[in-house]
């Protein structure tokens, strides 16, 4: 279990202490056990659902509503260059 916790934490980019790993591990275990319990309910003939609301086909019209949030967004950027966000180099393109 602790291995899985570490993987999930890594995928979510969360750093966990030993203590947290233990605690979250047992929490997640409890959740999984509950799901297992739910899994035993007979659902033959019940259509799978992907959403809890009994709603479908919520659309918007193809209309431009210009809300330029550039300046607000850039205010929060740790690094910027003119109107761009700046981030550490992410890919090493061989050339």
């Amino acid at each position: 279990m602790s291995f899985e916790i570490e993987k999930i934490a890594q995928l979510a980019r969360i750093k966990l202490s030993e203590e947290e790993t233990q605690k979250l591990g047992s929490d997640l275990n409890a959740i999984l056990q509950y799901i297992e319990q739910l899994g035993r309910i007979p659902t033959d003939g019940v259509e799978p659902t992907s959403h809890v609301f009994n709603l479908e086909n919520v659309f918007r019209k193809d209309e431009v509503k210009p809300v330029n949030v550039r300046d607000k967004a850039l205010e929060h950027a740790p690094l910027r260059e003119s109107f761009f966000f700046k981030v550490p180099k992410v890919v090493d393109k061989e050339s």
Binding site: V52, V67, F84, V91
Partner: protein, 482 residues
């Protein structure tokens, strides 16, 4: 290519759907805006914002699906695809996982084989689904980092995935050309590769002919033109065969095409094996597509390239090659149709558009729809040729003048006195002078050198400044020499 092997190629094409606003927000989609200015709280992934599907994008996706013979879903949903990358503000992309809008379909491609015969192949389409685009990262010339522009984040994309049915780089090229033409005819996308509204990734593997299992594939990215796709696939096939022949194994990886070096390179990335943890996006409700909507969209589908090519061949007597060149670019086909609508001869029109007109337009980098010489003007020029008012040779001089001055062919021909000389008396006088001035050539001709007459025709044409009707000149000279 080593004859023992065959390649197995599948293409993933992303096209930007031609909407005014983004897939889930009202941000505009136009190209060339200042960095990060086409943004809303939704595209930036701010907390508390909710995406709402753009109905036009769904309809365009269905339209493309219908034209690609896809099974249109009755129910669809959207899923989150998770990964951390600076181009993705929410750290997930809204895409479609197991209930895509378009299911299996097919696309017919035509290509010439080595004997010049026509090969027709059907390439399967696995699916074509809706998803939002990510932002754009700029690396060029920046040493200490990358710059991010989120204008593209949330743009509506249709990802069209082919089956691994493609066998050669030429087939891949034909597939892309046919797909692009269809999407342009449907007005689903402008398919402008330079502006990023059409992008293509290629999955390539090789195997011994007769083998039914697939070899290990690599995915090639950074393909910025159809020619690049063709070259990169060929490079990759050769590279993989060399590895296999050398007794090694192909490594499954993503490779980037370098157009300048004409090579693919393994992309070195710190990302570990992908684990996208797809799950249904709880911010978006599911959708159902009723039959009436599909039928209505079906009715809006115009004549597609394959049908138009057939029509140009049957009704206009064009060769398959000429017809497909004109049809390949919708606007070029429209231009051709506008020219022949005036009654111009269709073969002449096809030739003039494909050779002279396109030569000038390409040189000046003007798209056909902005041609300063419009369809009516070109039709006017062609009509002068048809009426024997000017020769084809003179017409070639007139066309650039039409570009320069904006005047009609008729006006230019009148002003410059270029009307073709069909007056036999005048041509005879010139012919007599030419014959008298070239006794040696005349002697050659009489001694049996038939080709000498060509020189004499040329001399007469020169004396008349190209205005004599070459057919009449030929007749008169032949008569005088016999």
């Amino acid at each position: 290519m080593n004859q023992k092997y065959e390649a197995v190629i599948g293409l993933e094409v992303h096209v930007q759907l031609a909407t005014q606003s983004k897939l889930f927000s009202g941000a505009p989609t136009h190209f060339g805006a200042e960095p990060n200015s086409n943004t809303t709280p939704i595209c930036m992934g701010w907390p508390g914002t909710l995406p709402v599907l753009n109905e036009a994008a769904l309809k365009l996706a269905i339209k493309a699906g219908l034209a690609l013979n896809c099974r249109i879903a009755e129910r669809l949903k959207f899923d989150r695809k998770h990964y951390f990358y600076p181009d993705l503000p929410k750290a997930y992309q809204i895409s479609q996982y197991d209930m895509p809008v378009n299911g299996k379909g097919s696309l017919t491609i035509e290509l010439e084989d080595e004997q010049g015969g026509l090969q027709i192949r059907e390439i399967g389409i696995t699916r074509a689904h809706l998803e939002e685009d990510a932002g754009k990262l700029l690396h060029e010339g920046i040493k200490d980092g990358s710059l991010v522009d989120y204008n593209r984040a949330g743009m509506p994309l249709l990802e069209i995935v082919s089956e691994p049915d493609i066998r050669t780089p030429a087939e891949a090229y034909a597939y892309l050309t046919a797909l692009k033409a269809i999407l342009q005819y449907l007005e689903v996308s402008d398919c402008n590769m330079e502006e990023g509204s059409l992008r293509c990734d290629a999955n390539v593997s090789v195997r011994l002919i007769g083998e039914t299992k697939f070899g290990t594939k690599t995915e090639i990215k950074n393909l910025n033109s159809f020619k690049a796709v063709q070259k990169a696939i060929q490079y990759e096939i050769d590279r993989q065969i060399e590895i296999v022949e050398g007794g090694d194994r192909v490594v499954q990886e993503t490779r980037l095409w370098n157009d300048v070096k004409s090579q693919t390179f393994a992309m070195r990335s710190k990302e570990e094996a992908h684990d996208y943890r797809y799950f249904p996006d709880p911010d978006l409700v599911p959708f159902t597509i009723d039959r009436e909507t599909v039928e209505e969209i079906q009715k809006s589908i115009p004549e597609l390239p394959a049908a138009r090519t057939q029509r140009f061949m049957k009704e206009c007597g064009l060769s398959r090659y000429d017809a497909s060149v004109l049809v390949g670019d919708k606007k070029l086909g429209d231009y051709f149709e506008a020219v022949i609508a005036t009654g111009a001869d269709s073969k002449l029109a096809s030739n003039w558009i494909q050779s002279e007109l396109l030569a000038i337009l390409n040189e000046r980098k003007i798209p056909i729809e902005n041609s300063p010489v419009g369809a009516d003007a070109l039709a006017g020029l062609i009509s002068l040729i048809q009426k024997n008012t000017i020769s084809g040779k003179i017409a070639k001089d007139v066309l650039p003048m039409m570009f320069e001055t904006g005047k009609t062919a008729e006006v230019i021909v009148k002003e410059k006195g270029l009307v073709q000389v069909t007056d036999t008396k005048l041509i005879e006088e010139v012919a007599d002078r030419v014959l008298a001035a070239n006794p040696k050539v005349v002697a050659d001709f009489r001694a049996g050198k038939g080709q000498a007459v060509g020189f004499l025709v040329g001399q007469v044409m020169k004396e008349t400044k190209g205005k004599a009707n070459p057919k009449i000149v030929n007749e008169i000279l032949t008569q005088k020499l016999s």
